[in-house]
């Protein structure tokens, strides 16, 4: 993993249009959020993937449109908060 100076952020804290690398996924111990996280990993939110927020909702940055690989996903802030990222210089 490339060394960067910036601390990891939650995806919902990443500024719009800023490229970043996925560093980790927060895994809740159980419940519906665990299913959600499993799905996020299946969709390609895995460490090492490059992503960027390409659009934000009308009010309060919610939802977020996130480009990862060749796919764009719409995530609500809550869904994005499980993904930890590191902004790329």
């Amino acid at each position: 993993m490339p060394a960067t100076l910036s601390a990891p952020l939650r995806l919902d804290q990443l500024p719009e249009q800023q490229w970043a690398l996925v560093t980790d996924i927060t895994v809740p111990p159980h419940g519906p959020d665990r299913e959600l996280v499993l799905r996020l990993v299946e969709l390609g939110f895995v460490p090492g993937e490059r992503l960027r927020i390409v659009a934000e909702g009308i009010a309060g940055r919610d939802p977020l449109a996130v480009r990862v690989g060749h796919t764009t996903f719409a995530l609500r802030k809550h869904e994005a908060s499980f993904i930890l990222v590191e902004p790329l210089p």
Partner: protein, 617 residues
């Protein structure tokens, strides 16, 4: 491998992520030879068709519901999982065709690896190969096949000969194998699979350094908080203007055709009961419903084209926040938009909402979207309210649409409040790359929608029309010599009984009678009113004259009250049947009927009493 069980594939299934072009490929393979139904016991659409291989053999193809994973999160995905793991009533699959989007293999390869573990005979279709080439994505097909351990075949589902190689591959005999037991992968398994995907991707695919997909650039405008909403407004405006202008123009021809057929029957049949049934009952009633087929189809043409182009999910994204305030999610947008054509396909489209509460709320408010069946009633009443004043008429029409939407949001908000659920509802939705809609799939989609509608016309509405005609024609046992035929009919009897309920909201006997069939299908209200007046002997007042009659004879309060009634009232039997089927619950069906009736009655009562008071003072 034992050589005993080599056989030509007879049953194959298409498996793939949503948006991989799977259905377009299915349409290309099977053409019009397809059958749409539901999977046993669930409200998931089952599409099966027959294809002819290059060698001329017939093969049955099942188009499985799109799934991101066999770890099912939705009913669609659960069906797909059950079919391919052999836990369903479906025939054993001889071959699994795993359809992938060549421009998006990073996402789609994982499903291939997951399905491969089942051990079924499998080929991978690399769909949208033309687009991958255009975007400069270079795929080493041989290497990919070698890494995956299964044949890989390029397809282009939007070209007439785009599946030739795949059809040729189906002429090869395969070893029969059944699926090995499937175990739901856990997080670690998924991570391991994703590592393999990353490795295979690096080995077999070369991407250009600059992303040539214009989607991101388009999104900067389309999903912009200001410009995006403006564009959405324009798109919806153009859609509805087309429905009204082009739709009304085409409807005119259907009206002409109906009148021509009716005249033809009238001259060729002897006067009598049977002729009455055919002309007034069947042709009049069914023709009156056919009239808005163009409007439904134009709205669906727009919806299907916007969906296929990738625009509608963006609209859902833009509207997610405002809709979540009312307890809905952006995913409710497409079903609700469809409900403007007809609530039935709208309610069926809620299947894509994975959260049950969101889905239920969307189903409950779908009938408040002004469906095309309301248009003739609105048009008639508005024309009677504002004769020769097109501006006022248009504004009132828009007002009725807005009223439905506003009340739907209020109902959704109340439902959210009363459920008290604190669980986060999930949006997680793919925004697929923009593309030109595939004309073949558009035509097939439109044809399916038209058939849903025509089946209703052919069954429920036809039956109702005949029953209504009978009620109008059969004299009541208590008939008086002096009353008009309609007052003396069974329908007149029913109308008088209902009038006790409807008098406080300003409906006269005629309206009450016409509302009886309207309860089952609101589109027949106009033809029923026509029938009521025709049976009264005012033959000349039917048709365009009905409007003049209403303008002259009904009070302002009655006209407004009936308008409000049509906005809210539970008036469609087929919708109720659909709600029962989709929610698998009588409770929600009655709940919907009850709240719509209460809303309609209160709104009409308020309007009627207030207008009566204001016009009297």
């Amino acid at each position: 491998m034992p050589l005993t069980s080599l056989a030509f594939p007879a049953h194959i299934a298409l498996l793939g992520n949503p948006n991989c072009g799977k259905t377009a490929l299915f349409n290309l393979l099977t053409g019009s030879r397809q059958k749409v139904a539901n999977y046993a016991g669930v409200t998931v659409e089952r599409k099966e068709g027959t294809l002819r291989t290059a060698g001329g053999r017939r093969v049955k193809v099942l188009d499985l519901p799109g799934a991101y994973s066999l770890n099912a999160l939705s009913n669609d995905e659960a069906v797909t999982r059950d079919v391919i793991t052999g836990h369903s009533a479906e025939a054993v699959l001889d071959l699994l065709v795993c359809v992938t989007d060549a421009t998006n293999l990073r996402l789609h390869l994982r499903m291939v690896l997951e399905a491969r573990q089942l051990g079924l005979p499998m080929v991978v279709a690399l769909n949208k190969m033309d687009r991958a080439k255009k975007l400069g994505i270079r795929i080493d097909v041989e290497r990919l096949a070698q890494e995956l351990g299964v044949p890989v075949i390029a397809t282009v589902s939007i070209q007439a000969n785009g599946a030739q190689e795949l059809l040729a591959a189906l002429d090869k005999p395969l070893a029969r194998r059944t699926a090995s037991t499937w175990k739901a992968p856990d997080l670690d398994d998924v991570r391991t699979t994703q590592h393999t995907v990353q490795r295979i991707f690096r080995a077999a695919i070369q991407e250009p350094t600059v992303d040539a997909d214009p989607s991101e650039r388009i999104d900067r405008v389309i999903m912009h908080p200001f410009w995006g909403l403006l564009i959405l407004g324009v798109v919806l405006f153009v859609t509805f203007i087309s429905v009204f202008s082009v739709g009304a123009w085409l409807s005119g021809y259907i009206e002409l055709a109906t009148a021509w057929v009716a005249a033809l029957v009238e001259t060729s049949m002897a006067d009598g009961l049977l002729r009455g049934l055919v002309v007034e009952g069947i042709i009049g009633g069914v023709g009156g419903v056919f009239v808005f087929l163009p409007q439904i189809l134009i709205l669906f043409l727009f919806i299907l084209a916007l969906e296929a182009s990738g625009y509608l999910p963006r609209a859902a994204f833009l509207l997610d926040k405002p809709m979540s305030r009312a307890g809905l999610s952006g995913r409710s947008f497409i079903p609700l938009l469809s409900s403007f054509a007809c609530a039935i396909p709208g309610i069926m489209a809620t299947r894509s909402i994975s959260n049950w509460r969101d889905r239920l709320t969307t189903i409950m408010i779908a009938p408040l979207m002004a469906c095309s069946a309301r248009i003739p009633v609105y048009t008639l009443l508005i024309a009677a309210l504002f004769p020769g004043e097109p501006l006022e008429a248009t504004l009132l029409m828009i007002g009725l649409y807005v009223l439905g939407i506003v009340c739907a949001m209020a109902v959704a908000w109340v439902m959210k409040r009363s459920s008290g659920s604190r669980q986060h509802s999930v949006l997680l939705m793919e925004l697929p790359s923009y593309q030109w809609p595939d004309l073949r799939s558009l035509a097939i989609g439109l044809y399916e929608r038209a058939m849903i509608f025509l089946k209703r016309v052919g069954t429920i509405i036809l039956a109702l029309t005949i029953i209504m005609w009978a009620l109008y024609t059969i004299p009541s046992p208590r008939a008086h010599a002096e009353g008009t035929p309609i007052q003396n009919s069974l329908a007149g009897e029913i109308g008088r009984a209902l009038n006790v309920v409807f008098a406080p909201i300003g409906f006269n006997e005629h309206i009450s009678i016409a509302l009886v069939p309207g309860m089952a299908a609101r589109e027949v209200v106009v033809s029923s009113l026509g029938l009521v007046y025709a049976m009264e002997g005012n033959e000349a007042e039917v048709g365009t004259q009905l409007e003049a009659h209403i303008a002259r004879e009904w009070s302002l309060a009655t006209k407004l009250s009936l308008l409000l009634w049509i906005v809210f009232a539970p008036q469609c039997l087929s919708t109720f049947v659909t709600v029962k089927r989709e929610t698998n619950s009588w409770k929600y069906m009655w709940l919907m009927g009850g709240y719509l009736f209460a809303l309609a009655y209160l709104a009409s009562l308020f309007t009627y009493q207030l207008t009566t008071y204001l016009t009297a003072h």
